[in-house]
Symmetry: C2
Subunit: 200 residues, 2 copies
């Protein structure tokens, strides 16, 4: 019997995913928990709920609150949080490249660099040059960008997104341990604890 | 200069408010924080966001998640959580009576009894007999129910709800310290901490 594993579902446009992406590696290492990093797209999930953009745009009071909440949480975590000019950004290219980057030992560093580029530097991660700069900063080859556009890789992202939806994911970040779903950066500790308690 | 105070905004139909209503008194006492208990109505706020019922009904994936999340959180807090038959319940009468009960020393106990009646016992708090039972359990006179229906008291609840909306409240439970807004039971500790740090 293998140890249970934590599936970590994140979307590159998601502000609260930034917090989890930056703190999950240390937390999981301390708890000895294996994590599968699963970039996915919120767009199709939001669409199925009748939204054509982020709920933080659809519901302005929630959007204003999110910005302040993120400022407070980022500060506590020692991170800078800058509201990106266009919001939500298009995380499609970043997610496709991340799938390939995560097959290397530098995948997590790449993901963190993309979030820092967006929410610390204020760059637009929809632009291929920005993703190229993230790859360079991570010492990964920039031709991953072309490879990321191949049909198999595109399909893979679509399948991951469909799997997320099937598993009840409706926002990001989310965490699953088998059938158990946790939603939001503020449930990260509970999700990690769930894995350690489920150990045989 | 007076000490800053925590405004606690709660709605009787709200599942996550149950958690805060049960644990806030002890937490605030430990921190020496003064709390103003402000029952309000989510209905008019949801309506202004285009919903005619709870978001947990509007978005079924979110609703399914909330039930499981509440189960886990209630268990951790040593509470029972039973999904009330009709959901969301109509918390109007409970809120009106709570305004009067909170003018006595037994107001908090009354609020806790209403939540226990709903989420532990599974009763419908829209029914006057159920509210009467809560008053009796709290040793408060049941004629508060008639007093609660007086025009001044009805207006007061409407004004509190309008104040909540003006202050950016879009869900429950919420906490405000001056202009600082915290949303959700999982922000309760941060809100209490904010008060203690804002002390002169």
């Amino acid at each position: 019997m293998t140890n249970p594993k934590l599936d970590f579902w994140f979307e590159f446009a998601s502000t609260y995913s930034y917090l989890s992406v930056m703190r999950l590696p240390e937390l999981a290492a301390q708890a000895g928990v294996e994590v599968a990093w699963r970039p996915f797209l919120l767009g199709p999930i939001f669409k199925s709920q009748g939204w054509d953009t982020s709920p933080f745009i659809v519901y302005p009071a929630k959007g204003r609150y999110m910005l302040r909440d993120m400022e407070r949480l980022a500060q506590r975590q020692g991170l800078r949080f800058r509201h990106p000019g266009p919001f939500p950004q298009n995380g499609l290219l970043a997610a496709r490249v991340a799938q390939l980057a995560l097959e290397t030992t530098r995948g997590i560093a790449f993901c963190q660099n993309v979030y820092l580029m967006q929410f610390d530097e204020g760059q637009n991660i929809a632009e291929p040059e920005v993703i190229a700069a993230c790859l360079e900063a991570t010492k990964l080859p920039t031709d991953l960008i072309d490879q990321a556009q191949e049909t198999t890789n595109k399909h893979r992202l679509r399948e991951t997104t469909e799997e997320a939806m099937r598993r009840g994911v409706f926002g990001a970040p989310s965490f699953t341990v088998g059938d158990e779903l946790f939603w939001g950066d503020d449930r990260l500790e509970a999700a990690v604890e769930w894995v350690t308690q489920a150990r045989p």
